[in-house]
Every structure is written in C-alpha cells, then in structure tokens.
Symmetry: C3
Subunit: 243 residues, 3 copies
Amino acid sequence: MILLFTDFGLEGPYVGQVKHMLAREAPGVPVIDLFADAPPFEPRLGAYLLAAHAWMMEDGDVLLGIVDPDVGTLRVPLVVRADRRWYVGPDNGLFELVARRAREVRSWRIAWQPPRLSASFHGRDLFAPVAAQLARGEAPPGPLHEMTRFADWPDDLAAVVHVDRYGNAMTGLRAATLAGDTRLVAGGREIARARTFADVPRGEALWYENANGLAEIAVNGGRAADVLGLAPGSGVGLSSSSR
Amino acid sequence: MILLFTDFGLEGPYVGQVKHMLAREAPGVPVIDLFADAPPFEPRLGAYLLAAHAWMMEDGDVLLGIVDPDVGTLRVPLVVRADRRWYVGPDNGLFELVARRAREVRSWRIAWQPPRLSASFHGRDLFAPVAAQLARGEAPPGPLHEMTRFADWPDDLAAVVHVDRYGNAMTGLRAATLAGDTRLVAGGREIARARTFADVPRGEALWYENANGLAEIAVNGGRAADVLGLAPGSGVGLSSSSR
Amino acid sequence: MILLFTDFGLEGPYVGQVKHMLAREAPGVPVIDLFADAPPFEPRLGAYLLAAHAWMMEDGDVLLGIVDPDVGTLRVPLVVRADRRWYVGPDNGLFELVARRAREVRSWRIAWQPPRLSASFHGRDLFAPVAAQLARGEAPPGPLHEMTRFADWPDDLAAVVHVDRYGNAMTGLRAATLAGDTRLVAGGREIARARTFADVPRGEALWYENANGLAEIAVNGGRAADVLGLAPGSGVGLSSSSR
C-alpha cells in the first residue's frame, strides 16, 4: 500500500500525475490519499502532522511524503525505513518525527535520478518512482548516505499544524504527553481539556485528544480558528502546571 | 464495491483514513467517493440526497454513509440490508428514505465495538470495519435489534439538500412525484419546470429533473443559490396545482 | 488504465458517479483523477491543457475527457485513437490538439446510446460506458463517422488555460516552441523567461517551462494570477523577438 501525504491540494494535475506515475510503476498497489492539504511549504509543521497520521501503516507500506519548498535546488530523495515501514520524500525534516519515535530506523539519501527529471515536479519524477520501487518489494536504488537530522526540533510542537474544515486547530502536541490539567493558551485565552465538545458550554473553547492522539483546539458550536485567530504555524502556550 | 457518502469534505485526513481502514480490512474491494460534501451534521437532509444517489448500486454493494453530528455520545452502527444492498452508518435516520423506498428491508443495530475506538472518529474506527466485513461477504457482527424509524419525515422533502459548484440547488423532491405543471416557490419566485437550461431566457430560473431524478433549481447563465438565496435546508414551496 | 479529465470539480456526486459507472463497466481497471478543475465550459482552453497533460499515457490507456457545455443538445461521443491511446468525450474540440500532435490518428463519432440516458449527465451515462468498453480492450461501438476538426484553432494558444492553487498561470504555449529570449506580456508587464523562481527577485514576475512543457507565468513569493489579474481565458502577448 502507498499513502500520499502532500501539500499539493486536490486542485490541478499534481496529485493526479503522481498517482498516474505510481499506477504505471507499481501496478496493482493500492494508493490512498491520506493528506493532500498539509501546510504548504512547511516541512517542520508537516513533520508533526505526518507522524501523527502514520500509525495505521503496516509492515511494508510506503508513505510518499511531499512538502518540498526547495524543489529546483539540489535535492535527493530521502528513504527512511522505520519499524518496517517506508517513507520517501525530500530530506528536509518531513520524516524527522516519525524516525525519532520509531524503535528501529535506517535511512538513505538516494543519488539515483530518473531519465526525465523536471525542474519543478520531483514528486512525480523522482520521489514517486522510488516509492513505487519500494512498494514492489525491491530495495531502494543507489548507495547509502547518512541521514540529515533536525536535532533542534522539539519532540512535540507547541503550534498549530492543521486547521480542518470545521475550523478545529490540530496542534503538534501529543495529548498523552500532557498532564490532565494542562491548559493551552491560544488567542489570548487559557483553554482547558475536555473529553468532547458537549462537555463545555456553547461558544466556549476546549482542547481534547483527537482521533490520532493530537491535542486539538475547538470551540463548541463555532470555528476555533476564526474565534481564536489560529492558522498553521500559530504558537500555542502551555500553562505552568503541565509536563 | 464500497461507496462513501459523507459530510467530511475532501480536506484533511478524514476521507483518507476511512479509505486506509477499508483498504486494510477489505483488500481488493473497490472504494468509490460518491459524495464527500453532504450537508454537514444534517442527517435528515442527507437521507434524501443519499437515497437519490444510491440507485446505481448492485447486489452486495455496501454504502458507508457517515453524517454523524452525535459522535461521542452513545452510538452504535446501523446496518440496513435493502434490496440486497448494504448500508452502514449511524442510526440517526440517514438511511430512512433508502429503506422506505426498498421492497425488502432488514436492519440491525450493531453492539460490536472495535478494540480501538476514538471518541470523535467512529467513521474510521467503527463504521468502516463493519462495512469492510460486509464487503468481504460476511454477515454483520453481533445480535439483532429493532431499527429506529423516523416516521414523521415526509416521503419527499420540500427543501434544498445540496448546492453544487455551479450554484444549482438540488431539492429532496423526486421529480417523478410532481405534476408537470408544478411550480416550485423559492426566493420569493414561482419557478416553472423545464427540460433543460436552454428552454428559458438567460437569467431566468427553472427547475428540472436532474440526472438522479431530483427536482433541481437552476438559473440559466447564473448561480441559482446566489440569485435566489438558497442553501441546504432552505424550504421550497409547491404551487397548489401540484400533487 | 482510465484517466479522468473534467471540469466537474471534486464537489458533489459528479466525479463519483462517473467512477461508479467505470467501476461497474470496467471492473479492475485503474482510474486516475488527472484533472477535475479544467476551465468550466471551455473546451477550447481545455484542449491545450489536456494535450499537455496526456504525455504519460501508454498504449491502450483511455482518457475520458468531459468539458461539455452543450450537454442536453444533440451530442454524440467522439472516440479518438491517437498513437495507440484512446480519448473519449464530446465532439467539441477538446481532443483537437492531442489529435493534431499525434503521428497516427483515427477518430469516430459514436451513434450508440445507452438504455438510460439522462438529459444533463452524458459524462456518466454515455461517455463513461464507451470509455469502459475501450478499456476492456473492445472496439468502439457503432459506425464510423468523420471527425469534426477545428482548423482555425492555433497550434499553441497565447492565453491562460489554468491557474493553480499557488496562483501560477499555465498558458497554452509549449515552451519548446518559444525562442529563449521570448517575453510574455501579461497584466501590462513584459515577463522574461527564467529557469526557476529563485532566478528573479522576490515579487518579480517570470515565466518558465513547467513540468508538462507549458510556459507558466509566476511571481516569486506571490500569486501571479492576483498580481497580474489573470484567469483562464486571459490573453497573453508575445514580444516581437519571438517565433
């Protein structure tokens, strides 16, 4: 199985051409659109979002992750093998958190280049063929290089990493790492934890552990992102009692 | 075949994670995105929309229908078997019309729970595994319960149930139930039936039988929803000569 | 493999019902959403966009192209076989450029009609079953007719054919047909060619050969369509030194 995690959006030909390439190079392998609207050009925000959404993967699955602001510069694909799952994408930190949280990790920077490489669409021309090769059960091409690490990134990110269509703001904080009485500070408000929307009065803000384990900020009956002025990248504070 | 009918939108991870679960639990079964933008949190509007769009299903197909405003409360999946097709989703009336219009119906409320059940995403954790099980040709899990009915809902709904990207407003009225001279009243105008857009002058409103049999309100060369002030849930009047 | 190229958008049931029909009529054949937001009702603009995005097709692949402003009038599907690939859609010029650029072309207008043909959704009822038949390896149905040609359309179109989510404006001009010093004139500015965004100062406009060979207008760090006032159909000038 191949999972797509990109900042392409679903508009235009971008996701379609990546899937076209995958269907040509790995026929019969299911391809799932896991996330098409990761924060554009923000691999650091994307890294926390990706790590939270990869937990359903199984042995041998391949995640093709493309958030690639530096396309057109010298770029090689990074291949990460973490707990028997594969991750393919640019070497800009997008897989830093998934690697850091794995028990077993190996990673390679790939020097291989396809016969036809456009200047602006390495997702289709370079990363997709590598992902297809792994999904076919083959080894990654080319010689082994040390992986780039992003040691100064925190284990959890106190910032918004995604706003969904309901205006809820996912943070890069895993709820399980936060004490039960932790308050998040966003938009000038202190926000307490709740189990679900109905636990607070209408119009009130809350945070809760979402279905992928992230701390998510919401407003009962409202759009938290609008009410609190939040967007991907907005910082979130933690009250002193926490962690 | 599994058909998805949801109010998730295509943004974020919601449809993707449901499809990830289906691909894991029912490998090889085709999954079709039939409708991702049903009216949010409105199972009553969705029920008429769903019933209109399910006619292409064949024996054994499974429709996974998720419009679930009450997720997080006590919720069990409803499984409906209507004319040899399966419908899986919350027991909030979403399948009321498809059941009512079928010749043979049985339905079950399912007490089964998955080992991992999030508070906010039963579509992925609870409904998808049940749909996958049916798509694999197995019986629904657990004991049989009486289905909840919504007897006070009309057979056809005189309201807008969807506005498409062109601004056309689908109603919950089946065109075949309306006399030919029926006029719909919306946005303060009386609107006559036409076969197609070109039958009325530019800028004029019309209603016609759409490709799924619903009465749909349009404006030739314009966006009916904007011109007439219509949104999902807007009431539609019927002139006295009809039905 | 079947590729979808439409102006349906991804909202509502339109793409989903086409894919439902394809899954019924050509089970097991992969279907790729290549382009869902071609310029609405503009087969002439779409023709250049489609020709630019079809190059990855392989022998026997079928492209289902639906940009169909005249649905509801007398309409027959056009089937084009160009260099061993199939194209199915309305006979309104959408395949004119792909046909013109092929080495071997045959084309047929199809008189066949399905048992159930709606007035407004020939994409699902008429074009999809024909595409499915070809994808199954069968010949197109019905007698052979001469293809409609659009001889007055230029080989390359000096106009915007698509604006992507980043505000970049794809033109109908193949970059390879333009001299290196060609300047494009758009929004009152003369715009020089660059290899990539970083080659011009921030806020400056450039044009470059995009990943599908088209001349694309962009602004480094900005949205070209907004800065220059461009939308699908906007004309683009060529400075005198070119071609």
